[in-house]
């Protein structure tokens, strides 16, 4: 390998070059790149849904045309109101991916903020309070908590962002706390404090960038988990409300037609499977690429 531009002595720009190295490792991982391509494809489907879907997912219904098997006109058949299932799946991707990312942003804000606080003030009452709160959240099954929040706040897409974001913060918080605990003992933090940096500056500017690699992996895996959980919530009627198409609610309505129109169950099921699979492939690849101990 021929040497690139001159690196500053001592690897000062560790944060950047580590990410670049990880990206190079990731590009050589064919399975992970397949996952990334699939994620990109699904994102494009979600963004350009109105151009891809042959019919309108809500207004193009025709009761004389209901519960049809897949055909040339309707690639995945029609549902109980005669709506095109393929179009509804395409639009459903919007909800799933939006929930996947938006709920992770909530988790990230809560987990990063509280985790950094607990780690930086480890051993004080701030740390104590945050860790006890995370234990309470952990003592309850997360799906039930998300459901209880969704019922308390009232169903809807924003509720799902918040409910799913909220149940994930404890794990994220502990991850960040552990990382911060090791990093804050290092000399560059002491140096930053010595030259008079404020506490928020030390935490956000010097410590958190070091935590980026495990956070990226956790968030990618978390998107997959959130998409799965969104399916559960909208299956129970707590997600985006009808007539908005979501994969979970489509499976819920399909239940009663399982004898006559099983394709109504299989179409959204396979869509979820594929999406979660894509994020998992990418997450696995990212973990290998970002692990500093990873072998070449």
């Amino acid at each position: 390998m021929k040497p690139r531009t001159q690196e500053p002595a001592g690897g000062v720009y560790v944060g950047e070059s580590q990410l670049l190295l990880a990206w190079k490792r990731l590009r050589r991982d064919r399975v992970a790149m397949f996952g990334l391509a699939l994620v990109a494809l699904l994102s494009l489907v979600a963004i350009f849904a109105p151009w891809i879907a042959p019919y309108d997912p809500i207004t193009d219904y025709n009761l004389r045309n209901r519960l049809q098997a897949p055909s040339k006109d309707h690639w995945l058949g029609t549902d109980a109101s005669g709506r095109d299932v393929f179009s509804r799946i395409v639009y459903g991707a919007r909800i799933s991916l939006t929930v996947g990312f938006a709920s992770r942003i909530v988790t990230l804000i809560l987990g990063l903020g509280l985790g950094a606080l607990a780690g930086y003030y480890a051993g004080t009452w701030v740390d104590m309070v945050i860790m006890r709160l995370s234990e309470i959240i952990d003592a309850l099954p997360s799906l039930f908590v998300a459901i209880a929040i969704a019922v308390a706040v009232g169903p809807g897409i924003y509720t799902v962002f918040f409910a799913l974001g909220f149940v994930g913060w404890a794990d994220m918080c502990r991850l960040i706390r552990g990382q911060v605990l090791t990093i804050r003992e290092q000399q560059f933090v002491e140096a930053a404090r010595a030259i008079g940096c404020s506490t928020p500056r030390i935490v956000f500017r010097h410590i958190l960038p070091q935590v980026l690699a495990p956070v990226i992996v956790t968030v990618t895996m978390g998107v997959a988990g959130a998409i799965m959980a969104e399916t559960a919530l909208s299956f129970l009627g707590l997600g985006a409300q009808p007539p908005t198409p979501t994969w979970g609610s489509m499976m819920n309505y399909a239940r009663q037609y399982i004898y006559t129109a099983p394709h109504l169950v299989f179409a959204p099921g396979v869509a979820i499977l594929l999406t979660v699979y894509a994020f998992n492939l990418l997450g696995d690849g990212l973990r290998d690429a970002m692990d500093p101990r990873a072998k070449k």
Partner: protein, 308 residues
């Protein structure tokens, strides 16, 4: 060691306290009056006031909460708003269903998952490893709802081999489909985890030593490697057991099983606060209890683990 467990159990108390407080607060920020959901919107103001007093909802919130905690400590979780049934008795009646499903599922997961992981690790890089990795990843990515409905269709509707829902007379084959759904799901996680842990262990020096002194593959893999890989595997199994014992709400709903999961879920939807609080407390106790037992199990698996 017993001192460790006593301290551990004492630490559980504030967590359970927090769980009940969290549930209580959550349900008092809910818009709408719980009494109206019991008597209906058209009840007269007198009826509403009478029911409110009967349910103890006319007292200040802190008093309501403390009364509830006092009774819960004596094992009385109160009565349902909706049908006045004793919550402790309902949980007693429904827990066996969840327990049977949990043990059945966990056995499937152990029998399929761990051997698959070990097998893949031993044959790392071969087609066996590739195939097992793909199958287990797909297993991890399959939503329980989809798997449940698909199995109902294949075995119940299409082949007509197995009952699709309910527990009927309670015989084992009513639990088979739901247990397969949950069991294969956990098995997929187990396989991925066991493979990763086994790969790490198989690279250790003492494995090379064991091979060098001429021990057979079987002894090296099962006696030397697997035994040392057991701690993370058992931790994950314990986590699965914990979440199975609190009731797998989705599976119980799809297969119409009267377990703890569907009990909790119905109560959450009906905003039946006493049931939700009781069920959440029960779930937290089970969850935390499994974790404490797990700490004990480590001592049996790994003689190096000691609690002082």
């Amino acid at each position: 060691m017993s001192l460790y467990f006593i301290r551990r159990l004492l630490l559980v108390v504030p967590v359970l306290f927090g769980v009940s407080l969290f549930t209580f607060i959550l349900f008092f920020i809910v818009p709408g009056d719980p009494v109206l959901s019991v008597v209906g919107e058209r009840a007269s103001p007198e009826t509403v006031a009478r029911i409110r007093a009967e349910l103890g909802l006319d007292k200040p919130l802190p008093v309501q909460y403390i009364t509830w905690v006092g009774k819960a400590l004596q094992g009385d979780l109160g009565r349902s708003f909706l049908n006045q049934r004793s919550i402790t008795e309902s949980i007693q009646a429904r827990f066996p269903v969840t327990l049977r499903l949990a043990l059945f599922s966990l056995s499937i997961a152990i029998v399929l998952g761990i051997p698959a992981g070990v097998w893949a690790a031993v044959h790392k890089g071969t087609w066996i490893d590739g195939a097992l990795r793909n199958v287990s990843l797909i297993g991890v990515c399959t939503p329980v709802i989809f798997q449940g409905l698909a199995l109902q269709y294949i075995f119940g509707v299409w082949l007509k081999w197995l009952p699709v829902s309910g527990i009927g007379d309670g015989s084992w084959y009513h639990y088979l489909l739901p247990a397969v759904v949950l069991g294969t799901n956990i098995a997929a996680y187990q396989a991925r985890l066991s493979r990763a842990v086994m790969l790490e262990v198989l690279e250790q020096d003492y494995i090379r030593t064991a091979r060098a002194k001429g021990l057979g593959q079987r002894v090296v893999v099962f006696k030397h490697a697997l035994r040392n890989a057991m701690i993370p595997i058992v931790t994950a199994l314990g986590g699965s057991l914990g979440s199975l014992l609190v009731g797998s709400a989705l599976t119980e709903i799809i297969f119409a099983l009267p377990g703890i999961g569907s009990y909790t879920l119905d109560a959450v939807f009906a905003r039946d606060l006493p049931v939700v609080m009781g069920a959440f407390l029960f779930q937290a106790v089970v969850f935390v209890g499994v974790n404490v037992l797990l700490d004990g199990a480590y001592v049996l698996i790994d003689p190096r683990v000691r609690y002082d």
